[in-house]
């Protein structure tokens, strides 16, 4: 095992070195090939390479050479290099935005690749902004990409805005706290915020704080209850859905920068991928009593957004701990109990993706709703003739704890002891068998 890890590390180093070398040579080649076009005696404001490279968008009358020069001088901030940020950055870099700052704290994971199209198989484990930087630089070496490896919060963004200016901000974040944070900083700096979201088979897009339109707070003055907010890790998402929304975000950025009009302000574009229906919904205008963009704002500097939203600014799950000590069993003991009834309380969809031998699927949601309880009772009654412990497992060890509480309550009459498998299938994969897929 250790030898394997050493080999991985060695290969990684070699690849990084080769990649750097390759990149250098590729840029050298590009420069040599296109050097003759670098002079710009025939065109004002752009190089001859620029004219050729961006000609297909400059031929548009709404865009023209003026639009290209504007893009070249523009500075865009993209927060989040995930499902939205990746396609957005890709198109903005390709379009020739002069300076793109990208912020993200996460590292690339295997589960990201189906939708976060800037990252590849060989980027797993490295910061997202680094793999995004490499990919964007390969696409367009003539623009400036500024990668910032940090968590976007009040203090990091305050620092960033002290040192840099931007023309537009793109919200590619995955949580409510960051949405309020970006909204407020955009209002305080008088910047348009291009906001997108994508979950499951639904996408949404709008531009906040632009041309007398509303800000996020005008629409949602009070944050939603934390437990009602879903994330991609739980709800799932089909890759092209954020792909479409992120690409539309890039489009709105270009329209804002080049002052073409028709910007999606005071309107919400919703995309229903199931039915292939786009709706364009009319939104309220700016609320004069809005706490941040209103006539008499109460928020005049950034606040603590995690506290305001009652949730943390990432989409990771927070572990619960609601049982007594003796209601748990360490996951390592699982292999020594092949005869013990093991109930997997994940949704049937997840159970179908991967499951442990001999585990019995009864979703926690059924317990909550009281669905099929008679079936479960039968199963438990049959089992109670030769066993007394019942092990409850789920994905991360949270729902299984809730399930244990419910089961104890529902089946008080049965001579059974319900035990929570600590840490769930995550822990199983980490400390028993690494070949069980973590998702």
């Amino acid at each position: 095992m250790a030898a394997n890890e050493q080999k991985i590390e060695k290969l990684q180093d070699e690849i990084n070195q080769l990649r750097e070398e390759l990149q250098q040579k590729e840029r050298e080649l590009f420069d040599l090939k296109f050097k003759k076009y670098h002079d710009n005696k025939y065109c004002l404001g752009l190089t001859a390479t620029d004219i050729m490279r961006y000609s297909r968008q400059m031929l548009l009358s709404q865009f023209s050479i003026t639009g290209q020069i504007v893009l070249k001088k523009s500075r865009v901030l993209i927060v989040g290099m995930g499902g939205l940020g990746c396609p957005c950055a890709l198109y903005l870099a390709a379009a020739g935005i002069g300076e793109i700052t990208i912020i993200d704290y996460d590292e690339v994971e295997l589960t990201n690749l189906h939708r976060q199209v800037l990252h590849g198989e060989n980027d797993i484990g490295i910061p997202k902004i680094l793999s995004a930087y490499n990919r964007l630089k390969n696409l367009n070496s003539n623009i400036k990409i500024i990668p910032i490896h940090t968590h976007a919060n009040s203090s990091t963004l305050t620092d960033l805005f002290k040192n840099k200016t931007f023309d537009v901000v793109v919200d590619g974040s995955d949580n409510v706290a960051t949405r309020y944070l970006l909204n407020d900083i955009c209002v305080l700096n008088n910047l348009p915020l291009v906001s997108g979201s994508a979950l499951q088979m639904e996408g949404q897009l709008t531009v906040y704080n632009y041309n007398k339109g509303p800000c996020y707070r005008c629409l949602f003055p009070v944050p939603p209850p934390p437990d009602t907010v879903m994330n991609c890790g739980d709800g799932g998402v089909l890759g092209p859905v954020p792909g479409i929304i992120g690409t539309l975000q890039a489009l709105e950025v270009i329209k804002i920068l080049t002052k073409q009009g028709g910007v999606l302000s005071s309107r919400l574009l919703t995309f229903d991928a199931c039915e292939a229906v786009f709706r364009n919904v009319k939104l309220r205008t700016r609320n004069s009593r809005c706490a941040v963009c209103g006539d008499d704002p109460t928020i005049t500097s950034l606040i603590d957004y995690e506290e305001f939203c009652g949730s943390s600014a990432h989409d990771k799950v927070i572990d619960v701990d609601i049982l007594r000590k003796d209601d748990h069993i360490p996951v390592k003991e699982l292999p020594s109990k092949p005869e013990t009834l093991l109930i997997d309380v994940r949704p049937t969809l997840e159970f179908a993706m991967c499951n442990l031998d001999n585990s019995y699927n009864f979703p926690y949601s059924y317990l909550k709703k009281g669905k099929d309880l008679d079936k479960l009772r039968k199963k438990l009654e049959d089992y109670s003739t030769n066993g007394s412990e019942v092990l409850i497992i789920c994905r991360r060890g949270n729902d299984s704890q809730r399930a244990v509480l419910q089961l104890k309550e529902i089946f008080t009459d049965l001579p059974l002891k319900f035990l929570n498998v600590l840490g769930g299938l995550y822990a199983y994969s980490n400390s028993v068998d690494a070949s069980f897929p973590i998702y």
């Binding site: 009602t228 919400l268 229903d272 919904v281 009319k282």
Partner: protein
């Protein structure tokens, strides 16, 4: 045939978790002189919501983070000061979550 005039399309678009995971409902409302949006939301809560109604209605209005759209417009545009817009049988109601993630 049902003689009441209120046949309404409800889309849970985005908020379907609250609506038994169904995205589309075609409902006939009970007879009543006028149906107002506020009445309808309460009716939806009492008749369509599968679980945890408090995740839809709080303090007699929709809970924070849900946007109600009537005929492709933000309901705020219709209710202005009077929260209870009169609905007609041509209404399409769409309930959306706040854009997140």
């Amino acid at each position: 045939m049902n003689n009441n005039a209120y046949n309404i399309n409800i889309f849970s678009g985005g908020a379907e978790l609250l609506f038994d995971n169904k995205r589309h409902y075609n409902i006939d409302l009970p007879n009543k002189d006028t149906w107002k949006l506020g009445d309808l939301l309460i009716w939806l809560r009492d008749n369509l919501l599968s679980e945890r109604p408090e995740l839809f209605i709080q303090n007699n209005s929709v809970r924070p983070g849900i946007l109600v759209l009537v005929n492709d417009s933000d309901w705020e545009l219709m209710v202005s000061s009077d929260l209870w817009y009169l609905i007609c049988s041509l209404c399409q109601i769409l309930c959306k979550y706040a854009p997140c993630p």
